[in-house]
């Protein structure tokens, strides 16, 4: 039997040099004239060990990492193809604490399978949700999704089943599914990992959404910064068409469903759903007034489900195992699991899928192992650039939408950016305002003008000019932006700014 080396094809692995490692493996295999198959997999999301390669030894995947180009010869010398000993040997992937202690309902295939192999996908439980969806039909699918308690993972945490039901109840000829793959928040990469490591999962979720609401056309709005996602997802769509699982009469049923990928153009605001729809229509990504909701009048004025990648990727397991099974995970009104992303100054950064309800402390220290620099962690920003900065005194906060809201923070898309004690919070507050100024769509004044004024005011505070007066001014400005902005871009920017001042006044010369 041929031996197999599994090497990830993933943006982060690529960033850490996996392409050179791959080339070196080919070179060495050729030189040694040994029979080895190389299979490109997705990533396990253990980013700090990338490039992480695995070998199948009697059905168990043995991990080695992080592997550099210069390690390849010695790895082969050490007979890793049979699980041989080597300083880089970690042991069975599934025994690594980081993986073992997760609850992977969505990411259980990631890293193990070839993302584009339909048979791999099926052997590991793929398409069971779709199968059941086809059997039970729209109404029962809606019931399952409503019962699961699933809320949108893109940031706003709106109940997915309710959104779908609104579109279902609208009686028109054409409806759309739009997948929001704009993933603009710094510190987040779970959408990317779904698309690169398990693209059929997203597509399965989208087809189920289509069946549920009666939509036959779908768009995936993918950010231009993810070229590998575009490649993998593009191939996955193509392969499903060839298999008769997209297009007309899916799997012999009377269901038709088309999917098209559209590429964004580097505007953060296009992650906001109405701006995204404008962009899909070929326009400037200016935010629309709501109402009407996209579920009533969305893309080209038709009822549209806009859902985040992870939201849609959570649907297949709900259909396969039932809403009640999914709902069993989590706490309070946050049901199921969220793939948290540990980013920034963290020793063991990567993707941690867990049920809601663990504490920041647990995720930062038990999973993350503390800061990368070894210095104390001073603060974390959760939920992207519009999320509040949280001080260490609040690290016992449980990861749950409502608990976070209570401390004036948000979970958003589950990104956790870690900063050690060298961070200057006045700089971070300034950056939050500057980012808003750069990315504002310009439609409303509080955001468009406010963010520029805000940046100037913080500059004055930073240079020690009339500190007290300018702090008051900033406070007023923040209130105006929060209360009078048309969307959450201007409306939430005050949160990182004001939380930085509140928790770290010493950085503002106060």
């Amino acid at each position: 039997m041929n031996k197999t080396v599994y090497i990830p094809k993933d943006f982060s692995a690529s960033a850490m040099g996996v392409d050179k490692v791959l080339a070196e493996f080919y070179k060495e295999i050729n030189k040694r004239q040994i029979e080895v198959e190389i299979i490109r997999t997705g990533s396990f999301g253990i980013c700090w060990l990338e490039p992480l390669i695995t070998i199948d030894v009697n059905g168990v995947r043995i991990a080695y990492g992080p592997v550099e180009e210069s390690d390849v010869a010695s790895l082969l010398d050490a007979n890793i193809l049979s699980g041989g000993e080597h300083p880089l040997k970690i042991g069975p992937v599934s025994d690594i604490d980081y993986i073992k202690n997760q609850e992977r309902l969505i990411f259980h295939r990631a890293g193990f399978t070839d993302p584009l192999s339909i048979s791999d996908y099926q052997q590991h439980g793929g398409f069971k949700g779709l199968q059941r969806a086809l059997e039970i039909g729209s109404k029962a699918i809606l019931d399952e999704v409503i019962n699961s308690g699933l809320r949108g993972r893109g940031g706003a945490a709106f109940p997915t089943g309710i959104k779908w039901k609104t579109v279902y109840d609208t009686d028109v000829d054409q409806k759309f599914i739009v997948c929001n793959a704009d993933e603009g928040d710094s510190g987040t990469f779970s959408d990317r990992m779904v698309m690169e490591s398990d693209p059929y999962l997203l597509l399965e979720g989208m087809i189920i959404a289509g069946i549920a609401v009666g939509a036959t056309m779908a768009y995936i709005y993918l950010r231009v910064e993810y070229p590998l996602s575009a490649e993998v997802l593009g191939n996955a769509v193509q392969l499903l068409y060839e298999k008769g699982m997209l297009g007309k009469n899916i799997l012999g049923s009377d269901i038709c469903f088309d999917v098209e990928i559209r590429i964004g153009a580097g505007a953060y605001i296009c992650g906001e759903e109405t701006s995204l729809l404008e962009s899909l229509e070929g326009k400037r990504g200016e935010v629309r007034f709501k109402p009407p909701l996209p579920a009533i009048k969305g893309l080209f004025n038709k009822p549209t489900v806009v859902n985040n990648v992870v939201t849609l990727a959570s649907v297949p397991v709900i259909l396969e195992k039932g809403g009640a099974y999914y709902k069993d995970y989590g706490m309070g009104r946050s049901r199921g699991t969220l793939p948290f992303q540990l980013a920034g100054n963290i020793k063991q950064g990567g993707l941690v899928e867990k049920a809601f309800g663990l504490s920041l402390n647990e995720i930062l220290y038990d999973f993350g192992g503390g800061s990368a620099s070894g210095r104390p962690i001073r603060t974390v920003q959760v939920g992207g650039p519009l999320g509040a900065y949280i001080p260490e005194s609040q690290f016992d906060t449980l990861l749950d939408y409502e608990t976070f809201a209570q401390i004036g923070a948000m979970l958003g898309h589950g990104g956790i950016v870690v900063f050690d004690e060298t961070v200057n919070m006045a700089n971070m507050a300034r950056y939050a305002m500057e980012f808003c100024a750069i990315e504002s769509c310009g439609k409303c004044t509080p955001c468009r003008i406010g963010s520029t004024r805000g940046t100037e005011i913080i500059d004055k505070i930073l240079s020690g000019e009339n500190t007290e007066l300018n702090l008051n001014l900033l406070d007023d400005l923040s209130t105006t932006m929060r209360d009078a902005s048309l969307c959450a871009m201007g409306g939430l920017t005050p949160y990182p700014v004001m939380s930085a001042i509140k928790h770290f006044p010493e950085d503002f010369n106060i």
Partner: protein, 163 residues
């Protein structure tokens, strides 16, 4: 593009034909033009507008709204440096300073010899291995000033090898 290479200002009718009937065709078309030519020349705007039945102002408005679209030629090596929080947490500021001073350009500029252009980017989704940069379509993680120099010299060697 499979057939003839596009010369700077002439967009083949074939490209328009391909996108004309697509709903919301403007962004895909602009991507195709920039993918082929490297940027969207001002002279192309009237032609794009005519073919998609839009006004010039609309086309111009869209091009200027999106950071990714550019109206001047990029350098051969397009460097995108992440400015977002997860990279800042790992001192991307030092990297930024180093890149700017060693190339002697600021953001949105191209070196005089047309080799490098530098652009800010807000997150590349490599947030667990920061700071990140992207050069053309290749991503690099945990980039230090030192490793940035190595990356550039590797690129130069490859370019020389290819003549």
């Amino acid at each position: 593009m499979d057939d003839k290479p596009l010369n700077a200002l002439k967009i083949p009718q074939k490209l328009f034909d391909e996108y004309q009937n697509l709903p919301g065709a403007l962004l895909p078309l602009l991507h195709a033009v920039q993918g082929a030519i490297g940027y969207i020349p001002d002279d192309a705007v009237p032609e794009i507008a005519k073919n998609l039945n839009l006004s010039r102002a609309e086309v111009h408005g869209v091009i200027s709204f999106y950071h990714y679209f550019r109206t001047s030629p990029p350098g051969r090596v397009r460097i995108q440096l992440c400015r977002a929080e997860a990279c800042q947490a790992m001192d991307s500021a030092s990297l930024e300073q180093h890149v700017k001073s060693s190339l002697n350009i600021d953001y949105h500029q191209t070196t005089a010899d047309g080799t490098y252009s530098l652009e800010p980017v807000y997150c590349l989704g490599n947030c667990a291995c920061t700071p990140s940069i992207m050069i053309n379509d290749q991503i690099y993680g945990q980039v230090s000033p030192q490793s940035f120099d190595n990356i550039l010299s590797d690129l130069t060697i490859v370019e020389k090898d290819q003549g």
